[in-house]
């Protein structure tokens, strides 16, 4: 009974929050509504017995991703109302409804046709975090390491893209100045190589 109430409550809240995120013209409303939606989604993970996933959802999404987006919003100065050009909103809604029905069929069809087989069954004795750890470091060790390398690459890419030349404003410079700056930077390197 409580599960039913919780499911419908959090479903309504999540859908409302994500609708606000998608529909609002204020970037700040979109950001806060999405943060709330992420928290509400973790409630589904807790209801489904995926405790570890719920905690990771809260920490990673509302902790890290939302902080990054907040930084981006401050950087881009999108706090004012955005003006987005719309040609034909009716087409977008028709496309959305079509896509929704398509996705429902995609989800339902394999469940009806074939029954999925259990590969790594849940063990009732151990908790969810323990079971996740057992499987993550045995069956999924290679994907786990690949994901770690991918996060490292993403971190370096983020630093290189965002952190370089923070003291200079590339918007106020002409294309020639940017090219000149790149040429000046390349020169000391070649001299160093000559030594």
């Amino acid at each position: 009974m409580f599960e039913v109430v919780a499911f419908y409550l959090f479903a309504a809240l999540t859908i409302a929050m994500f609708t606000i995120t998608v529909m609002t013209s204020q970037a700040l409303y979109a950001l806060t509504a999405m943060a709330a939606g992420m928290i509400f989604i973790s409630a589904f993970f807790f209801m489904l017995g995926a405790d570890f996933l719920g905690v990771v959802q809260i920490i990673v999404y509302t902790g890290a991703v939302m902080a990054l987006y907040a930084f981006g919003m401050m950087f881009f100065d999108t706090t004012r109302t955005m003006v987005e050009k719309r040609e034909n909103p009716r087409t977008i809604f028709i496309l959305g409804v079509l896509a929704a029905t398509l996705v429902v069929f995609i989800f339902i069809s394999p469940i009806i046709s074939t029954h999925l087989e259990t590969q790594y069954p849940l063990e009732a004795a151990s908790g969810n975090s323990q079971a996740i750890g057992m499987i993550l470091f045995t069956k999924f060790l290679v994907p786990f390491e690949v994901a770690a390398v991918m996060l490292l690459v993403a971190m370096i890419a983020g630093i290189v893209l965002a952190g370089k030349k923070m003291d200079k404003s590339l918007t106020l410079m002409a294309e020639e100045e940017i090219a000149l700056m790149g040429a000046n930077e390349a020169k000391p390197d070649s001299q160093e190589g000559a030594h």
Binding site: T21, V22, L48, L53, F107, M150, V153
Partner: protein
């Protein structure tokens, strides 16, 4: 009345559709990123629900890796957005016409 797998899958589909609508209607690139996050979260709910109702941890592992991918996507994407904002002063999809497409 009981919550079944179909309930969760329908919820997941609805959230996915909301994200798709966002991807289709947004022109601001930061808002477009928000919509992609919604898409990833919708699939996460589906994976976790199937993991629970089929007594299988594989779905949870997939959701776990999707969260890792989402985190790295935000890092790289925001870096690219900052470079684009420094060069053009806007983060609008309509100005990305340098390839004359």
């Amino acid at each position: 009345m009981e919550i079944t797998l179909a309930h969760y899958l329908v919820l997941s589909s609805v959230l996915f559709a909301i994200g798709l609508i966002g991807v289709m209607r947004r022109k601001n690139l930061l808002m477009l990123f928000f919509a992609t996050e919604i898409l990833l979260n919708a699939t996460n709910i589906g994976f976790a629900a199937i993991a629970h109702f089929h007594n299988d941890l594989t779905g949870q592992m997939f959701a776990f890796f999707i969260i890792a991918i989402a985190a790295s996507e935000v890092a790289v994407g925001l870096g690219l957005l900052i470079v684009m904002y420094k060069r053009t002063g806007k983060i609008d999809l309509d100005i990305m016409t340098s390839m004359r497409g």
